[in-house]
Point group: C2
Amino acid sequence: MKLKRSGRLVDMTRYLMEHPNTIVSLTEFSERYESAKSSISEDLAIIKESFEAQGVGKLVTLHGATGGVKYIPYIKKKAAESFLTSLGQMLSSQERLLAGGYLFMTDILGDPIIIKEIGRLIASVYIHNDIDVVMTMETKGIPIAYAAASELNVPVVIARRSSKVTEGSTVSINYVSGSSKRIQSMVLPRRSLSKGSRVLIVDDFMKAGGTIKGMMHLVAEFECLTVGIAVLVETGGESPKLVDRYLSLLKLGQIKEGTAVPIEIGNYFNYFREE
Amino acid sequence: MKLKRSGRLVDMTRYLMEHPNTIVSLTEFSERYESAKSSISEDLAIIKESFEAQGVGKLVTLHGATGGVKYIPYIKKKAAESFLTSLGQMLSSQERLLAGGYLFMTDILGDPIIIKEIGRLIASVYIHNDIDVVMTMETKGIPIAYAAASELNVPVVIARRSSKVTEGSTVSINYVSGSSKRIQSMVLPRRSLSKGSRVLIVDDFMKAGGTIKGMMHLVAEFECLTVGIAVLVETGGESPKLVDRYLSLLKLGQIKEGTAVPIEIGNYFNYFREE
């Protein structure tokens, strides 16, 4: 279609946002809009400037044979801090306290806008790590996993507690839950991971880290590599953790009766790099 | 921030796409860009034209006291047909056949781009139904529920097979699985649905419809209203279904040994209305 610059800018913005972390060649855009590459380059410069001024994403230009442009998730440090601070405040309400040191987060995990932002924060950190797949354990980590995977443009695989007829043959491992010390199982469909995949493990909540460690074990069973681990909330009380290196967005402190739930920003900014 | 038209177009496109089904007033945009409302109106006309030419969304203009604009999901009939046809082809591979008449769909349900498109198709149908919340049953319906909920800009609630300590007090019902005839339970956290909510039920696969019927029962327990039911795949063999009115994107026919899996487009276009 032949469009004026204004129409091209709208459509290119939409197209890039719907195809994150995907290289689009100048030729592709040039043919799509029946416009000279020089005009397309100017359009892209305008889009790049707008995204970067808003701190909502980056346009990366690639030169050479695979030349083109890709939109990648990005967030400014200040915006990340303000999001995590307000999320922490939402979670610090005393009504959220549940037995066993857990927090009621179901409503927050059900909010697509919050989830999308959590996914963007996680993806911003791992965008240069060549992630092939995001893995989580059912159930509550699933939306976070999809949100991060959407921004990274990679598939999600979901480990389950038991094998289901709808998933064909599975690989199963046993693991010890870090906090309850019980032996549990975790299964993954045989067809879900190809050998050598670079995996980002994501979950909603980490106490001692037994479930995460189980997922790492499962990744290794498939001869894949755990490249990163990201959790929404870690508990600060239980230490040492069973896993060494992980990213946490929020950290839950020691809970005392009658006071607000102590939530602080996790180790996120140890991993975050403002470019 | 003061921006030229080109910069405004990029930022407004991005902003509207990130806030679907949300009214943005002209005043808001006018203040954000330090520009006259007349300029903003012209910008919106350009964005509207581009979205509608591409058939990827609509800009709805609202007049009066709540005046403004909102971006709503939309898909052209032809684009929906072509998406469903190619999804059907992906699913018709014989390797996907599993015991019990199930199909292996885990890979497809793990693909964020496919899931996003499925969500858009579902949301396009229910966008004018004032949905308050999307409900699904763990596990495989979850990504579809989030995808539809993102486009509708409403929260997701997830029914589970058993209650979890992390969800506080729950409401539980028993239901009879339509195909296996076994009695099963389904629980939902007490805090997850407020009375009177208009609920869209979403799932990945429907045989006789027992699980869907269970969810409807649960919706009624919370004094809420089931406004719509949407499933990715229904089986054609088992009839009558336990639910009367539902939308299906794809329909799985009778499976015969040694032939391709018979998949056709479901009843989607009975509900779809091209505007």
